[in-house]
């Protein structure tokens, strides 16, 4: 019937050659992807890596021919099973979409129709493409739902998307992609919106299904560790171009492009020592599409840049001999000494840890929620925080780690005074603030406890200049006697966060994400904050900027002896910068100790799973795979006994059996003040093996 029936499996499934895509606005043509080539063989998984704006999603959407009204393929070809996708008409495309090429999206909630039952959305695919009857299609949907390891498929296919958790929704999206057994699967950041332990499950599933059905994959991600887990081959993109492509292990171990190298040096690796391998951020900013430099796009940020050579002509891809289809877009790859260690960085003295600044005791925060469709119904108590006790000292970084719904944000809200605690006490210096909402706190207390928010894009007022926003904070904190004073202080704050003083007059929209976050930090430190709560301060930023912002936070902390409460789900970064770590699960602190204690056995079973779930972009690291079953239980309906018992793999080792189902475990004090909230005996805890091992070289 079509060419795809006569396609030879030894040929590439997808062959993109010299693809260029541009978006056309009224002002100009904006090239989004230039001269992009890649080949995906049958059964192969290809990873597309790069920072936001590098064009990786555009490539994926181009394969689907879904570029919107403004996007157009200006050159090159995309051959899918030998047929050029760029030349197909709408009708041909419609037959390919969903049946031969399927896509899995970044935000599962947004990609599922909120007003249609899950089963109907799944069954639609075979009904469309193979004319299956409705009953058969629903039966197939049920089977595929079971295939993606969702519990109780009959209930799932009859529910609406909003009734499922994020992980379940993503499994449904995967199921939908698999309904027609496609030859090529495009995954666009499929786990970015999910928690790490859920992510680990999804990644496992994707890998297994890829093997089971022999599906080829185009896997788009900004997470190098994830790509290493899933893919056979990798293609690193920068500013619309592929800069390096090759076999995953070869690219990871023998990178031959300065950008790839810089990217690896800017991410913290849990296997490596933080002093021996400091984070190095990439200087400068990502070029805007219409402001790309002449010659090599990465030139202005590259350590190996050579004037008159790298900025002269367009750089072609050159093959690296000896390796398996390994190419690099660098003129100097043969001259650079790739094994040279990164420029040594000054080792900074750790600030001395001082007095106790903040002390929480038995803090609880409960919410009352009603469950009926029209209000009323049974009212339930959500225990967002349960017996939270800890101390934070001056100059210390305390990391609070946990997945969504573990109560870490509630804790931050209570501390800030946005909510008041149900019971327990919060002592800030010597003042008891637990029941004082922020409106009633005096200016001193407010300026002493400040917050750096997760999303710098939404937390700056878009209609106020940067300088004005900082001055506004100073005014609220009653800083300085005159406007001139405050203006001066504002300029100093800009210096502090290493932004040029000229930025004072800029509007937030003129700033990049990293710069906005710096403004957010300047605002938080405006009143000389003593305690700063940083709620995932870098998770919305690109990897190359993350390192710089993290370092900045640490520097300011060192100078001001600030207590930093660092809320994060990213264990790599936590290990890199924190002194002590507190692991939370469903409102409980399950483990607390110094960073070394928490990251080494004995672990709390949850910490163990969390550690093993973090993808690590290092071929020398071996880690145990512990994939947790199911999702995090809802805080509205927590399991009885130990909160983690529903997913714990050590449960059988607890004596007497069934103890975990009945009683909340007590906090065990191990040596060095290491606390673990678990029923496991010390002997069993002592038998735990480290999750991350560095393979002998």
């Amino acid at each position: 019937m079509t060419a795809s029936d006569t396609w030879d499996p030894s040929q590439p499934i997808l062959e993109i050659e010299h693809l260029s895509i541009s978006f056309f606005t009224r002002l100009r043509e904006i090239p989004a992807v230039m001269d992009f080539s890649c080949t995906v063989m049958a059964g192969e998984a290809m990873g597309l890596v790069g920072e936001s704006g590098c064009g990786k999603s555009t490539v994926a959407l181009a394969v689907m021919r879904e570029l919107g009204k403004t996007g157009r393929i200006v050159a090159g070809s995309m051959k899918f099973k030998g047929r050029d996708l760029a030349q197909m008409d709408d009708e041909e495309l419609r037959h390919i979409r969903g049946s031969e090429i399927a896509m899995i999206y970044q935000e599962p909630m947004a990609s599922l129709n909120p007003a249609m039952k899950v089963g109907a959305q799944l069954a639609e695919v075979p009904m469309l493409h193979s004319g299956m009857s409705k009953a058969d299609a629903w039966a197939l949907a049920r089977q595929i739902v079971a295939d993606v390891r969702l519990p109780d498929p009959d209930r799932i296919i009859n529910s609406y998307p909003h009734q499922l958790s994020g992980g379940q929704q993503q499994r449904i999206v995967i199921a939908m992609a698999l309904m027609a057994k496609p030859a090529l699967l495009i995954l666009d950041e499929p786990t970015t919106a999910l928690d790490v332990t859920v992510e680990a499950g999804i990644v496992d599933l994707v890998k297994d299904l890829g093997e089971k059905y022999g599906t080829s994959m185009l896997f788009i991600s900004h997470n190098l560790g994830l790509v290493m887990d899933v893919c056979d081959r990798i293609c690193v993109m920068y500013s619309g171009e592929a800069v390096e492509t090759g076999n995953v292990t070869e690219v990871f171990d023998k990178m031959r492009h300065p950008y790839t190298q810089a990217l690896f040096r800017s991410i913290p690796l849990p296997g490596a020592d933080k002093n021996a391998r400091p984070l190095i951020s990439i200087p400068g900013n990502f070029p805007l599409p219409h402001e790309r430099p002449k010659g090599c796009n990465f030139g202005p940020r590259c350590d190996y840049f050579q004037h008159g050579r790298c900025d002269e002509t367009d750089v072609p891809m050159s093959h690296i001999p000896g390796d398996d289809r390994h190419d690099s877009r660098c003129l100097r790859w043969q001259e650079i000494d790739w094994s040279a260690p990164s420029a040594a960085r000054e080792v900074k003295e750790k600030a001395e840890i001082g007095q106790v600044v903040l002390k929480m005791e038995d803090l609880r925060k409960y919410y009352n929620v009603s469950t009926g469709a029209f209000g009323g119904g049974a009212s339930k108590v959500v225990k967002a925080n349960e017996t939270l006790s800890f101390e934070a000292r001056e100059g210390e970084t305390l990391a609070i780690v946990g997945e969504s719904g573990c109560g870490k944000s509630t804790f931050a809200k209570v501390l800030m005074g946005l909510e008041t605690a149900t019971s327990g006490s919060i002592m800030l210096f010597d003042e008891n603030v637990q029941s004082t909402p922020i409106q009633k706190r005096n200016t001193d207390t407010v300026s002493q406890v400040q917050m750096v928010f997760q999303n710098p894009f939404d937390t700056l007022n878009p209609s106020m200049s940067v300088g004005r926003q900082i001055i506004r904070a100073l005014e609220i904190f009653n800083y300085g006697a005159s406007d001139a004073d405050r203006h001066q202080r504002m300029l100093e704050l800009l210096d502090l966060v290493k932004l040029p003083r000229a930025f004072a007059d800029r509007m937030p929209r003129q700033l990049s994400g990293g710069q906005k976050q710096r403004v957010g930090i300047a605002r938080a430190f405006a009143g000389g904050a003593k305690v700063v709560v940083a709620d995932e301060p870098v998770s919305a930023l690109d990897v190359s900027v993350q390192a710089a912002v993290t370092d900045l936070l640490m520097d300011i902390q060192r100078e001001n002896r600030t207590t930093l409460l660092f809320i994060s789900h990213d264990l790599s970064i936590v290990r890199y910068l924190s002194d002590r770590v507190m692991v939370m699960y469903l409102g409980h602190v399950v483990e607390m100790g110094t960073t070394d204690q928490v990251f080494a056995p004995p672990y709390h079973p949850y910490t163990e799973a969390l550690l093993s779930a973090v993808p690590i972009a290092d071929t020398k690291v071996e880690r145990k795979r512990i994939v947790l079953e199911g999702d995090i239980p809802s805080a509205v309906n927590p399991p009885p006994g130990c909160p983690f018992q529903t997913r714990c793999r050590w449960k059988s080792q607890v004596t007497p059996a069934g103890l975990c189902d009945r009683e909340v475990p007590p906090v065990q004090m191990l040596e060095g003040g290491h606390q673990i909230k678990c029923h496991l005996s010390r002997e069993v805890l002592a038998t735990m093996e480290p999750v991350i091992k560095i393979a002998a070289e």
Partner: protein
């Protein structure tokens, strides 16, 4: 659900009391009462006589007290003049005061006596409401499907020629108030001298000297026909069509940019099915509220259109009551309006829950 409805009904009651009090206060301002005295008594009454009349007919005393009487929670007024005749709120002249009930207000079912129609308010209002009910029903039947259809059609491909044409039509129709569109429609369709009726008569499609539609809807009070009812219905509906179509279009264009629409397209779903199966229900959630809001708005349009087409319904009654200073009738009209507004909002909130599976009212 029961609790929610009860709570809303409670709030409704409070709102109704507050609103009717405002209307009561405004209609019972002293100049109004003086005017009433002169129309009921004699135009040439002296100032003192007017004051006496007001006092003798229960219009003196505190506003709250009189409002209470109207509601039926305060005993009705009585007045015994120097001749020994007793008059009161709860009985007609000549009846025995002793047999009359003490309370007679809204709660007792006594809405007062219309000074203009010269019969009890309940009787005159009842038949008028029924007439308006038919009009509104016809308007809704025309307006809702048409506007949704137009809105979806223009919203599914934003910026296309269809979209631009339909948007222009919607904006034009919603920018034309009823008193303009009514006159234009009458001129076009309902005069024997201008518009298309003479042309049609010339071609022999309608009888000579007849018009395509009738410019007066009075006959529709007894017998609704397409001929006598089309113009008033179209006049009201035109305005709403434009408005709801604009809302539906906005909602539809937004839905069409959602990721789940992309998902559907990338599943290989044909465009028609994408619109009908994936976009439509989601796109109707927002206009639903607007449609429900149109009910109270219709009451407004009805006032103009009923006067224009001389259709003796609720709107016409309201105009008559206002221009003739018929206080009990005016109060009753406002009561009805308040209840209609609040009830439609309650229905819209409940309907919303069923349309949108994600909504939980609290």
């Amino acid at each position: 659900m029961g609790k929610f409805v009860l709570r809303r009904l409670g709030v409704m009651l409070l709102t109704a009391i507050a609103l009717t009090f405002v209307v009561f206060y405004l209609t019972n301002l002293p100049p109004n009462l003086e005017k009433l005295a002169r129309t009921e008594g004699s135009v040439r009454m002296t100032e003192e006589a007017v004051q006496d009349w007001i006092e003798q007919n229960g219009h003196s005393g505190s506003v709250i007290g009189r409002y209470g009487q109207w509601l039926g929670v305060v005993p009705g007024w009585t007045y015994t003049d120097e001749k020994g005749d007793t008059r009161g709120r709860c009985f007609a002249i000549g009846e025995d005061a002793a047999n009359a009930p003490r309370y007679c207000g809204l709660l007792q079912g006594d809405w007062g006596y219309s000074t203009f129609f010269k019969k009890p308010v309940v009787d005159s209002l009842g038949e008028k409401l029924a007439a308006t009910g038919w009009l509104m029903l016809a308007v809704m039947l025309v307006m809702v499907p048409t506007s949704l259809f137009l809105g979806v059609l223009s919203g599914m491909r934003e910026g296309s020629a269809t979209d631009r044409t339909l948007s222009t039509f919607s904006i034009a129709s919603t920018a034309t108030p009823e008193y303009v569109s009514g006159v234009v429609l009458v001129a076009l369709f309902a005069t024997a001298a201008t518009g298309i009726s003479p042309l049609l008569a010339e071609y022999g499609l309608i009888e000579p000297k007849k018009t395509l539609f009738l410019a007066s809807a009075t006959s529709a009070m007894d017998d609704i026909t397409f001929w006598n009812f089309a113009l008033p219905v179209m006049t009201i509906a035109l305005y709403g069509i434009g408005y709801i179509a604009r809302m539906t279009r906005a909602s539809m264009t937004e839905v069409m940019t959602q990721q789940y629409i992309r998902t559907a397209r990338l599943k290989g779903v044909p465009f028609r099915t994408v619109v009908m199966k994936h976009a439509l229900r989601n796109a109707l959630i927002a206009p639903f509220t607007v449609i429900m809001l149109q009910f109270p708005w219709l009451l407004n349009g009805v006032v103009i259109v009923e006067s224009l087409f001389n259709y003796k319904g609720f709107g016409w009654t309201l105009v008559q009551a206002a221009s003739n200073n018929d206080i009990p009738l005016l109060l009753a009209c406002s009561c009805v309006a308040v209840v209609v507004v609040l009830l439609t909002q309650l229905i819209s909130d409940i309907g919303y829950v069923f349309l949108n599976p994600r909504i939980r009212l609290a």
